[in-house]
């Protein structure tokens, strides 16, 4: 056992993560059932940005890159960023490395909302499913929040218990809707539950981008406050941070961010649990470093997982949640068994 805790230097880790994210985006755009060389992909993207001519480029390839792979890779990056950040914030709020963005019922609420929309055929011009999921997740978190309050304050214990109870209730609703659904609906619901980026398009991406980047900026601005929260309620107050206000604001922010993400992709597991955990081992628990690191790593992880999901059994596309779980669960177990002699939990 080394006497010192090792920490990666920011000057090393951030360039590495940034290059990793760019590389994963390049792979995500270049790899797929239709072989398009990285060079051609780059020329297509440059042409789309008005840099370089369109003439020599294959029209079908252009369509695949600009309308399918590029928006999908970018959506994956933003959702990975959201899940990584939200997981870090939730673990910080609850001072527990087992917390995930879905702890307070966001996933089960979104699932019930999505299942309802599918069973009732609400199209709403293509916005039915994301709207149903988003409203379901917000409704779930607001209920958990109301029920989890103790004497006018947010009690982590009360919130977690209310989250478990309401999560079970919403899951039962989803199961009930599944039994009511037809064969095609059933397939649609199950695929939604497993999570995937197949519904990505430029329209959703335009809606998601300001939410993800604006939310990320707000979360970064609160990294100092999250650090104080590691000392608990009274410890934070002794450092001049009001824990109650901070928790409320952060919970609202996580709900908005994760709600927007699952509205598009369904519930993708493990990204929000694993990314903060792994990066904490590398950069340490200081949120000023941890938050940007998990944002970059979560983005790269989801883009790569999605590329695997699309290509592994091509032309059959796996739900990306299967890949993240296959990679994430063993990794999590490895961390659990190997890293901490005393355990930080």
């Amino acid at each position: 056992m080394t006497p010192h805790l090792r920490r990666a230097r920011p000057m090393v880790i951030f360039p590495t993560l940034a290059v990793g994210l760019l590389a994963s985006l390049a792979v995500g755009v270049a790899v797929g059932p239709v072989a398009i060389s990285p060079g051609e992909s780059l020329r297509i993207i440059l042409a789309q940005l008005g840099l370089g001519g369109v003439g020599a480029l294959d029209a079908a390839h252009r369509l695949i890159i600009t309308q399918i792979r590029l928006p999908r890779a970018l959506t994956g990056a933003l959702i990975g960023l959201i899940l990584g950040l939200s997981g870090t914030v939730m673990q910080g709020i609850f001072r527990n490395p087992l917390a995930s963005p879905y702890l307070l019922g966001i996933a089960s609420g979104a699932s019930a909302g999505a299942a309802l929309v599918i069973v009732l055929h609400w199209q709403l011009g293509g916005m039915g499913l994301p709207l149903g999921a988003f409203l379901g997740s917000t409704l779930a978190v607001i209920s958990v929040y109301r029920l989890g309050m103790r004497a006018g304050r947010t009690s982590p214990y009360g919130l977690i218990l209310a989250g478990i109870a309401l999560g079970a209730l919403f899951s039962a609703l989803t199961s009930f809707l599944i039994t009511l659904s037809s064969g095609t609906q059933l397939r649609e619901i199950v695929f939604w539950l497993m999570g995937g980026l197949g519904r990505s398009n430029w329209h959703y991406l335009r809606l998601l981008t300001p939410v993800a980047l604006g939310g990320a900026a707000l979360v970064f601005a609160l990294s100092r406050d999250l650090n104080a929260l590691a000392l608990g309620e009274t410890g934070a107050r002794h450092l001049g941070i009001e824990p109650e206000q901070l928790r409320r604001f952060l919970l609202a922010l996580v709900t908005l961010l994760t709600g927007a993400a699952v509205a598009i992709s369904g519930t993708i597991g493990f990204v929000g649990l694993i990314t903060p955990h792994a990066l904490r081992l590398i950069v340490g628990p200081d949120h000023r470093l941890l938050l940007p690191a998990t944002a970059l790593a979560g983005a790269a992880f989801l883009v790569l997982s999605d590329t695997l999901a699309r290509t592994l059994l091509s032309p059959v596309e796996l739900p990306v949640g299967i890949i993240t779980a296959f990679v994430g669960a063993p990794f999590f177990l490895y961390l659990l068994v190997s890293s901490r002699p005393e355990g930080s939990i």
């Binding site: 805790l5 920490r7 650090n227 590691a230 002794h238 200081d286 901490r340």
Partner: protein
């Protein structure tokens, strides 16, 4: 600055039960005041009133003439630091990372780490003798070392007033003396310290004045020798003691004996 804690007719109730009644107390700059009293006498509650973690039901606490309850949290944290009896930490921090948290009240949300933050952390590590351990994980340290880490964090806040809740609880004899020697050195350099003690001998030896609490009331205040008499201890703790003294110091020795089931005073 003539920083001074003044507590004026402070009362506090918790769940309808009065925990503190009409406390009046002033603490001078550069003095170490020991709060003593049996379990449940209100020591921790009084410390939390002074630190602003709890608000008084009646009366007020003043820090250098300003009411603590009206100070902005960050402003208060720049001038007053407080250590809980048991401080837990989420996640695996190094000593230096934890001590750096003490700079939070001095820094804006987006401000960069400045040379003065670095030097405050260095000074805190140095005065607590933690420089060698700076890159260690808190989880690898002994109880006494951990206590020193949290003290260093409070020192990195560069406070004028420091509140300690049983700073020597669960520490072995050597660490008790080491920690209190350290605190005494800080007081010599002008820090005002209010500390709750269970061990009356330690309170007597290390404090300038002693304040005795009983059932939420302040029952005695003065020099250790004046306050810690056999009569007062018997009336407050319901334990008979013998006080041995010489020119330099004095010792409080309980006259308890084991009588089958319970420890009772003879």
């Amino acid at each position: 600055m003539n920083d001074n804690i003044a507590i004026e007719s402070l009362s506090f109730a918790y769940n309808g039960q009065r925990v503190l009644r009409d406390i009046d107390l002033e603490v001078k700059p550069g003095e170490l005041l020991a709060l003593i009293g049996p379990n449940g006498s209100g020591k921790t509650t009084l410390l939390r009133q002074i630190s602003g973690a709890l608000r008084p039901a009646r009366g007020a606490v003043y820090l250098d003439g300003q009411e603590v309850a009206r100070l902005k949290p960050a402003e208060l944290a720049r001038r007053l630091a407080a250590l809980e009896q048991e401080q837990s930490v989420g996640f695996d921090y190094t000593v230096r990372e934890l001590v750096s948290l003490g700079r939070i009240p001095h820094r804006g949300r987006l401000s960069r780490w400045r040379p003065e933050d670095e030097s405050a952390v260095e000074r805190a590590l140095k005065s607590t003798g933690l420089q060698e351990l700076a890159r260690r994980s808190l989880q690898q340290l002994s109880g006494g070392e951990r206590r020193r880490v949290f003290l260093a964090m409070a020192l990195a806040q560069e406070p004028q007033v420091l509140l300690l809740d049983e700073p020597t609880a669960h520490l072995d004899l050597k660490y008790q003396l080491e920690l209190l020697g350290l605190v005494r050195g800080l007081v010599a350099r002008g820090l005002t310290v209010i500390a709750a003690f269970h061990d009356l001998n330690l309170a007597a030896r290390y404090s300038d004045r002693v304040a005795a609490l009983s059932r939420g009331r302040l029952v005695a205040l003065g020099s250790p020798r004046d306050v810690l008499t056999a009569d007062l201890i018997e009336s407050v703790w319901e334990v008979q003691v013998q006080v041995l003294e010489d020119q330099e110091s004095f010792w409080i020795i309980p006259r308890a004996r084991y009588s089958g089931r319970l420890l009772v005073s003879s």
